[in-house]
Amino acid sequence: MDFTHDEEQVALRDAVRGLLGRKYADFEERRRTARGELGFDETVWKQLAEMGVLGLPFDEEHGGMGAGPVEVGLVASEVGRVLAPEPFLAAVVLGGGAVAAAGTDEQKAELLGALAAGERRLALAHTDGATPVTAAEADGGWMLTGAKEPVLGGDAETLVVSAALPGGGTGLFVVDGEACERATGPAFDGSRVSRVVLSGTAATPLGEPGADASAALARVLDLGRLAACHEALGGMEVALQATTAYLKSRKQFGVPLNTFQALNFRAADMYVSLELTRSIVAWATMMVAESDAGLAHEAVLRAALQVSRAGRHVGQEAIQLHGGIAMTAEYLVGNITSHLTALDHLLGDGQQHLAELAGAVDGYPGLDPLAPTMRSASTQ
């Protein structure tokens, strides 16, 4: 049992923090960049590629670094701290993750290699619009029809699209972004989000053609939820830091705000939320790294439930304890709250996770994080 990071992991974190922290130390720079045509900074993206971050979780033979969920979490957390607009979650964790989970060796080498090199962005188009996407075989090839929305980072060069297979099950397909009818805009938190319409659009099956990729997809979604947890955790850390700093420096009625006990106690409750979240996210990360898919899925849901609760608590209180200033777009803290809200709704929110967990609640006496099955053997 060890909750600490090793030297290499610390070095990775420091490097990413150095890059992103320097670039976006001034929040105005982040706003400018996010509002640019691309929505992120191409130079930073290239630098992330050079650091190996864009191939972090992929096998070395496919151009990756062979790292795991712990390292991905470290990077996501740094992204969350400064709200870096680079599409790490969308392109690497979700898009690349789908290829890594379901692609053939050839596909992995091609797509992940290009991704890791910063030459091609991927995105996972999974959430269906009103017309769910279906796949059909025609003329020895495949084509997709239907709509996906919202697609995070859906303006990527290459999309991985989930689709109902003719024989049942869900397939994953590679689609050229340019071949789709796409519209992209900023979501409420500034993330780039697309609607993707497919109308008999040519698609290449990811992995074995026609094979059900549900398990791979479920795994990727869990990896996405977990990375979102880390991103949220980074944001919450900074929100609390900013809040305590503000309470110490801002004066009202002639005295600093931290003269008011009620405010300090609420900051203390934010700290409690944050620390509990830190623990369960770290644990879920290790579960994903070390356990089978079922346990990993449950662990991710548990972490995401806690993140949902804590993210709302910390995000709302950060604004309230700041007052009006945190309502403004040019101040970091309110934007963190906005982004926490987006992360909470990307791949299922707390209430949905709770409902899933509640469904199984009578199947075991209690939880034991030290047991291999996560279940305590009996009441005793």
Partner: protein, 383 residues
Amino acid sequence: MRLELSAEDQAFREEMAASFTRVVPEEIRTAVLEGQEVTAEMIRTSQKALNAEGLAVPHWPVEWGGRGWTELQRHLWHEEMVRAGVPSPLPFNTSMIGPVLAQFASQEMKERFLPATANLDIWWSQGFSEPDAGSDLAGLRTTAVRDGEDWVVNGQKTWTTLGQYGDWIFTLVRTDPEAKKQLGISMLLIDMTTPGVEVRPIELIDGGHEVNEVWFTDVRVPGENLVGEVNQGWTMAKFLLGNERVGVAPVALVKRMLASAKERAGDRLDDPLTRARIAELENQLLALELTALRVVAHSADGEPHPASSVLKLRGTELQQAVSELAVDLAGPAALVPGSLEQADAPDWARRSAPVYLNYRKASIYGGSNEIQRQIIARTILGL
């Protein structure tokens, strides 16, 4: 104890409901009810229509358009207005500067400004808050220096809501730099087209532009624009802030929000947790509405009921909770950009997160909820 309204009040309520749908154009009310953008033009049209029927400023003195209604009738007027989707008359005009002028201004100033204020011929902005002057105004720095018959104003106001549409702004300015804290402050009316007045937008986290900074650089204001006496500003400010009784709890608004959320919930109403969450919110809202009714029913003598301080606190908490519910009902659709011309996600879902974020302000402005707790603890509980 008696539950139902008196026959008179019941008739009044029905008359209000009928009047609002008759008087205010349907396209405006539909926009409000569906949560679409309400333009400044709609607000103007609506208020002029209300004013023509004597429904814009019923709480003003009768000689200036008031109706002499009871607190309960004013409550019913407000609730029916919100329920019908009528944009509330501009509060800067009708709840803030109007009553102040009616109370403190010279007859000449009243005649000049009050009819135009009721009819929204003048769009007023509020110029109280400054970067270093919050609830206590002790740090107020904007100055007005006498120069002949005029005042010369320099300084900066902030959080000026809808200031981009403002024709005039009522300001608190420091007229005696030697006086301590809230003393030495006066109220000055400033034509916003005067040279040296500059309105700068503040973008909020919901992406909208509803507040502004207003800068004053050597702005020359005629002496006649001073309200009441010099250095009487704090008295007027207190009067103004204590005067916003009617509609202090956004009950009808939150009811409308919750009913809409329920209507839009669709399949998610199959989820027992969602049903329970809605039922719990409805019950809390009912308790709040009944408290509001209790307050207005027993405030006839003009004395605020002790429970009135509960209304803003719980009202804004519920408003925020219902806006949070809407985001959860939207789910991933909340992430679909509002800017996309075509989308499967309905408009309400795409607006849900901005609305949620915007309403975080509700517990901050108009006396933050911490101030409300302080008032309850000190004034009511004697702590």
